[in-house]
């Protein structure tokens, strides 16, 4: 088991990949997942995240078998209430 990480829209273009799979060891939160895939760079402010298809925050917990997604603001600018 592991964590499936998916990218959408302009972020996918920037990451250069549609998705990837990570071993869950050592990953406790969404921001840990981002650090593992984003070359250690912090999560860009406007990027939104979801865990198992529900909106999440950088400090939302993740566990083995979860699906984590990162994507730009939907359709437009309205920021989800964090």
């Amino acid at each position: 088991m592991s964590i499936r990480v998916r990218y959408f829209a302009s972020l996918r273009d920037r990451m250069g990949r549609v998705e990837e799979t990570l071993a869950a060891e050592g990953l406790a939160t969404v921001s840990d997942v981002w650090k593992a895939v984003g070359e250690g760079k912090p999560l860009p402010e406007q990027i939104l995240c979801a865990v198992n298809m529900d909106y999440a925050d950088p400090d939302s917990p993740v566990k083995d078998g979860d699906e984590v997604a990162f994507f730009p603001p939907v359709t437009g600018g309205q920021q989800r209430a964090r």
Partner: protein
């Protein structure tokens, strides 16, 4: 569907969003709508359920296209059936506004000189 339950709806409000051929000052030739399979549908349902808790409506219908669309093509439909017009208009507006900000959907435009991701919503006016 509604007919079997007898005609107790007095009002039907609907909104159709169609693709414009112009955005941010540039002519747009076509557009691709991307969604997050599973999450998008779930959030469309959540939006209807949230509205259903605020207004008593008999039924609602939300359809959103994905994939390639061209100027003039319909993209989204929101329809709601209620006993009275106030709830119909209010619920319809609430659902389309919520859909615009909460449903995971993204638009990539094809312009004369290339492609561009839409970064922000129109304000609605």
């Amino acid at each position: 569907m509604l007919q079997q339950r007898g005609v107790s709806f007095g009002a039907t409000a609907s909104f159709v969003g169609t693709m414009r051929d112009f955005n941010e000052g540039d002519p747009v030739r076509k557009m691709v709508l991307e969604h997050y399979p599973g999450m998008t549908e779930r959030h469309l349902e959540l939006i209807v359920e949230t509205a259903r808790r605020r207004w008593k409506f008999l039924d609602a219908l939300v359809i959103h296209r994905t994939g390639e669309v061209e100027p003039g093509d319909p993209i989204v439909l929101v329809a709601v059936w209620t006993a009275h017009r106030g709830a119909a208009f209010d619920a319809c507006r609430e659902m389309i506004e919520a859909l615009k900000s909460e449903a995971p959907l993204w638009k990539k435009e094809t312009l004369d000189d290339g492609e561009r991701w839409v970064e922000k919503n129109t304000s609605g006016y």
